[in-house]
Assembly symmetry: C2
Homo-oligomer: 138 residues x 2
DNA sequence: CCTTGAACCTCTAGTCGCTAGAGACATTAT
DNA sequence: ATAATGTCTCTAGCGACTAGAGGTTCAAGG
């Protein structure tokens, strides 16, 4: 049986975050001591590790809820799980595409001024003021 | 003189967002009609376009505040502006690096299961439960 | 056994950048 | 003059936490 602090140390999830996961229903409420403190077992540890891992991979709380629900029913089809993962992948890819476009524009912008001049002539500021200078729509 | 709705149409910034920018000090409060409605001039339009453009490029409100401050003082050194842009660029790059790592793991995970099986044997769920299967730290 | 100090409890509010809604007032077009 | 649309302020909500206040419990040392 682990206290919340020990669980936190083992999973690297902060204590308030663990409590937060409980309030939003990601973690089921664990046993309590006489003095009302949470005590977790190995299952709780595993579940939190799962959550942590999924969060690290960018899954939303809602997605993780569904995944856990599925995990609790080993006989169900896993279609939903693969769907969620595929959606997450395409989400990540969309973000990458957007960020790469931003990177390009920002590179052009930062290259345009060495910071030695005066605000009035600054290419950074002019570029921001005038989207026409941009090579891409964003 | 534009009403807030017309400004919104021209800049593609939603009306409540314009008001929000005013409350947080990004936009200076414009003139009002007798009936207390906002009326913007060309300068207001330009300023909002600048903000919109910078937001599209991912700059934070705080960063944009500094940029605008600089823009209002054409004689100052633009060092701060280039610093902010450079910071934004490296921020974007860091995000891209992270997302690419995620993309790799997610690709591996999604490839591991076609969704035809049962939750118990699902590679998606097992991978999430066990970070050891991952190729990279995240 | 008792005291100390760390860890724990709940609750509220703040973060960021908006977005949505309620209920009232202003403007514009017919 | 009336109706439709636009605008006003204010409050609350989103996601996923994070921070702090003020109080209680636990575990270890004396
Ligand atoms: Zn410059
Ligand atoms: Zn642009
Ligand atoms: Zn599967
Ligand atoms: Zn992993």
């Amino acid at each position: 049986m682990f206290s919340i602090g020990e669980l936190s140390r083992r999973t690297k999830v902060k204590v308030p975050t663990i409590r937060y996961y409980e309030t939003v229903g990601l973690l089921t409420a664990p046993e309590r001591t006489e003095g009302n403190q949470r005590r977790y077992d190995r299952a709780g540890l595993q579940r939190l590790s799962f959550i942590r891992h999924a969060r690290d991979l960018g899954f939303s709380i809602e997605a993780i809820s569904s995944l856990i629900e599925l995990q609790d029913h080993p006989d169900r089809s896993c279609q939903a799980a693969t769907d969620i993962a595929a959606a997450q992948l395409s989400d990540v890819r969309a973000k990458i595409r957007r960020l790469r476009a931003l990177e390009k524009e920002l590179l052009r912008i930062t290259k345009g001024c060495d910071g030695e001049g005066v605000s009035e002539d600054c290419y950074v500021l002019t570029s921001l003021a005038d989207h026409e200078l941009c090579e891409w729509e964003h």
